[in-house]
């Protein structure tokens, strides 16, 4: 049942307007709900409510590690980016064995890189290692 091009019985704007109306409606309802004192229950089995203080230090380290991965990926290559991310998140979550963590990060990054690029033929940016690892591909 193919509809020919240029058929404009339903404008491409109709459905988005319906979605917008629905989103505005539930959004308004949520504002009233919160004003009435229903602040919601955080997910999971950790106790607390939305006013429990955040652990900003851990959050900041983890968020930085993730952002660095995104920035470094195409500049420095997958392996470097993955080491930074893995190590950073582990550090953020309280691991302080810096050298051991670096080794584990490196092993993780190499294993993932090779199983994806060689095993599954998915090209990941090779960065510095270009030519050494990819056999002049």
């Amino acid at each position: 049942m193919d509809i020919p091009q240029g058929n404009s019985i339903v404008s491409p704007q109709t459905f988005p307007y319906m979605v917008a109306a629905f989103a505005s409606l539930v959004g308004l309802a949520l504002i009233f709900d919160v004003l009435r004192g229903n602040y919601g229950t955080p997910d999971g089995d950790l106790p607390g409510d939305p006013f429990t203080p955040l652990n900003l230090k851990t959050m900041l380290i983890v968020a930085t590690a993730i952002s660095l991965h995104v920035i470094l990926l195409e500049i420095a290559g997958y392996i470097v980016a993955a080491i930074v991310c893995f190590w950073g998140v582990a550090y953020g979550f309280g691991s302080r064995r810096i050298l051991k963590d670096l080794c584990i990060s490196a092993v993780f990054a190499f294993v993932v890189y090779f199983s994806f690029s060689k095993g599954l033929n998915i090209n990941l940016p090779s960065g510095f290692f270009d030519g050494i690892l990819s056999n002049g591909k």
């Binding site: 988005p16 979605v19 959004g27 309802a29 949520l30 229950t41 939305p50 983890v62 893995f86 998140v89």
Partner: protein, 499 residues
């Protein structure tokens, strides 16, 4: 019926090739692994492995995904019982009694009743799936676009309002998913919507990116925000993971009742595996002769919910395969897996791709059997995994999730989207907004628009077609009940209390 049986046998033949068996085995292993590890559920695991669809043939990949689907259920119960931290949402109830049993030195019996119960329920439910889904698909061929639209709206309502602690927050999540689904070029007119001039956004937001980011990145950020050093203790298993004759006698009825509760609630979109497991627990508690044992480690409280959990997982596959409507996050990822092979689940699936769909169903039987055989003897190996320090676990999940988001299109734009959605995921968890409705909205939103337009094109723009005929009316009637039902229920309860 007879024909379907023959097709199923063909399916088994597909599965019993060395390559496919290997992928099935790998899937059961990976599935149990992600089930055991807290923080990764089956949806995320399949999402992360979706890049393999680029190189592996459809049948093998889907067989592996099916095995992961069931494997995660098995693995989740192990974590619940030994660590008291549910590995995935369907195992929350299992932790109640299972962990108490483990503390009382009955970990072996709890693990055994969970594994055997999962096998029994999984097998029965898969039989029902094998013979129910084609019947439903045949009926679905007669459904008009307006009827489909009604079904999707019903799925929106149930998934949006039955999950989580707040109905309103479920609908908020759904609306956000619908907005995400709108991003990109309109399929028919090519009009660009919500791209804000960004060329990368023309193809829309990848569902996999949404799933991976909201589960993995959102969860990691949330756990980071709540980070305190807690030492969780893994309980030891004394003796073999097996059960006594007495345990069997107390378990088999809960297994069957759990199956009877879990399967239908998966077929009708009742929103995830929490509801059926919770119901099953309630039923077992009400029927048990050993009521005083509940809360202290009653085997019925493990057997019933575990069976319900697995039967539910198979039930969810019925509308996914026969109608193309996923109603859980995991089913949604399996749907995306089908789509990445350019196969659209739905009524036509059984006719257009019989070898794949029957191979998949047969692999559910085989995977279920492999899990039973592998899980109990290997239990000590899985327990070892629970001792991986959590900081390495989160580091691995995060890094792998970023890879999954990137590898699909080799694009940093996808990664930036993933970061943004990760932040949304964090905020959702922080303020108690459920996540599944967002995923369902993002996947089914575009589909609902498609049916909406088709219906109006058939009627040349007459909106009455949306409620024309018996089928849409019945569905909207059910929708009405789903919406007002909880209010009536509350009102009755309040009335009863006043009396």
């Amino acid at each position: 019926m007879g024909n379907n049986f023959a097709m199923l046998m063909d399916g088994f033949q597909t599965v019993f090739t060395p390559t496919n068996l290997m992928f099935g085995l790998l899937g059961t292993f990976l599935g149990t692994l992600v089930g055991v590890l807290p923080g990764i559920g089956p949806a995320l695991a399949i999402g992360l492995l979706l890049p393999i669809t680029l190189t592996v043939n459809p049948t093998s990949a889907l067989i592996m995904f099916a095995a992961i689907f069931y494997g995660a259920m098995y693995g989740g119960s192990t974590t619940s019982i030994l660590l008291n931290t549910p590995g995935e949402s369907g195992s929350v109830i299992t932790a109640l009694e299972g962990n108490k049993m483990a503390k009382a030195g009955r970990a072996g019996a709890a693990l055994a009743t969970a594994a055997i119960g999962s096998f029994v329920a999984g097998t029965i439910a898969t039989i029902l799936l094998a013979f129910g889904a084609p019947v439903l698909a045949e009926f679905a061929l007669t459904i008009q676009p307006a009827g489909y639209l009604a079904l999707i709206i019903l799925a929106f309502a149930t998934v949006g309002t039955l999950l989580g602690t707040s109905r309103l927050r479920g609908l908020v999540a759904l609306s956000m998913g619908l907005v995400i689904g709108l991003i990109g070029a309109d399929l028919q007119s090519g009009a660009l919507r919500l791209t804000f001039g960004n060329l990368n956004a023309i193809d829309g937001i990848e569902t996999v990116t949404v799933i991976v980011a909201i589960f993995a990145l959102g969860e990691t950020l949330y756990l980071a925000s709540r980070h305190t050093i807690i030492k969780a203790s893994v309980l030891q298993i004394n003796g073999k993971a097996w059960m006594t004759r007495e345990d069997f006698k107390r378990s088999w009825k809960p297994w069957l009742r759990g199956t009877a509760i879990g399967f239908p609630l998966g077929v009708i979109p009742a929103g995830g595996s929490e509801v059926p497991t919770f119901l099953s627990y309630g039923v077992e508690k009400a029927l048990s002769k050993n009521k005083d044992e509940f809360g202290k480690g009653a085997i019925e409280g493990v057997a019933g919910p575990e069976a319900a959990n697995n039967a539910n997982a198979a039930g969810v596959l019925v509308p996914m395969l026969a109608l193309g409507l996923p109603t859980s996050a995991t089913a949604a990822v399996v749907l995306v897996a089908f789509q990445s092979f350019n196969i659209q689940p739905g009524p036509m699936l059984f006719q257009t791709n019989p070898e794949i769909v029957w191979g998949l169903i047969a692999s559910l039987f085989v995977g279920n059997f492999l899990l039973l055989v592998l899980n109990l003897p290997l239990i000590r190996f899985w327990v070892m995994l629970l001792k991986i320090p959590s900081h390495y676990l989160y580091a691995g999940i995060t890094t792998f999730a970023l890879l999954g988001a990137y590898a699909l299109n080799n694009s940093t734009f996808d990664l930036q989207v993933a970061l943004a959605i990760g932040v949304i995921g964090f905020l959702f968890r922080r303020f108690g907004v459920p996540i599944t409705p967002l995923i369902i909205g993002a996947i089914l939103g575009p589909l609902s628009e498609l049916y909406f337009k088709r219906a109006l094109q058939i009627s040349q723009g007459d909106w009455h077609i949306l409620i024309a005929g018996v089928f849409p009316k019945v569905i909207y009637g059910i929708l009405f009940l789903v919406i007002i039902g909880p209010f009536v229920w509350n009102f009755k309860k309040q009335f009863a209390v006043k009396k």
